[in-house]
Amino acid sequence: MKSKLISLKDYKEVEFEKTQKIVFEKEVLERALHRISRKYKKKEKVEFVEKGDVLFLKLESDAPKFNKKGTMVTVGGNLFDEDFEKMLLGHKVGEKFEVEVLIKDETQKVRKTAVKVEILQGQRTIFPQATDEMVKDIAKTDENFKGLETLKEYERKIKDEFYQSEKQNVLYTILKEVLDKVIEDSTFKLDEEELKELYELRFQETKEILEEEENVKYDELTSQQLEDFWEVSTFEEVEELFHQEIEYEVSFLLCILAINGGNSQDYDLFAEEEEDVDVDLLDTKDVFEYIEDKVNFVFL
């Protein structure tokens, strides 16, 4: 590398919160219990529409999306239209009625339009309460739950897994914050030619990925697509983003090489083969373990 590190901020001098609370999310347990009971789900016909019901609707309107001879909608799933789905609640299967919805016309202007609705059919899925028997059943097929016999044991395992997973998330978040601070407070002499070459390489890779996976040419992207991919609205902003990311990447490499005792002048920034890169020199393990050692977790 031609770019150089002038002074390195010691990561041990970066402050971070040493006590971290992890609160168990009730929803995680609910989903886990749902997962073991879903095998036993039953379907029943709907009389009056409730949230979660799957309806077969006939829609008539001047808006194409709301003009369908038959379309399936899950009420409250927010896949079709959040506001429209709410309007279906409480209606009876077989009923015909009219509602007003907001749509965007061809000029993207929002307007109201009337929609005639007929609920042709409705189905509701019933999930039974989780039981010990269901736990024993899943223990037979899922290695992860082998040996479990009761709901209590299953819940304990779900909680343990949650806490361990969140602990890792917290540690990695702190790691990123510490490394960002190290980069911010270190000083560098970045080689402009090297940055330019790396920028062009990354840009070209991105264009190829776009064509291959999204079937779209970079130069033909619309403002909306720029927003979707990069949360910016102009090509200039995309390019600026790439410049910032390249600078960050090179600065990060210089810092992590120094932390691991590597020599940046021996490091090939443009190595094509993974075997040519000494991954130990890029490892953030030491910083991670330092943070892990310092943080106390409180599980609630």
Binding site: R35, T71, L79, Q123, T125, E213
Partner: protein
Amino acid sequence: MFIHGTDENFKENVKEGVVLVDFYGVNCGPCKMLEKVLEDLDDEFPFVNILKMDTDECVKTAEEFNVNGIPDVYFFKDGEVRKHMVGASSYDEIKEILSKLLYE
């Protein structure tokens, strides 16, 4: 609705409507993560067809689609590929794609 995919039934299952095709491996961690997402999707939207293609069994189709990394997800509409994603995607990401394909 989950459909067990094979090399033989693949074309028939994707030719009509919106179908999410999941190329997966039995011992693949990210595939298991995606599996949970797809189960939730199936519970909430049972009318969405999810074609499960085990890459060990459906070798011919996996090669045809150049499947290397898994999970590898294709969204078909009336027989045509409309979107492609590699790796475990989130529930919201998949919902957004399905919303456009099903209703717009």
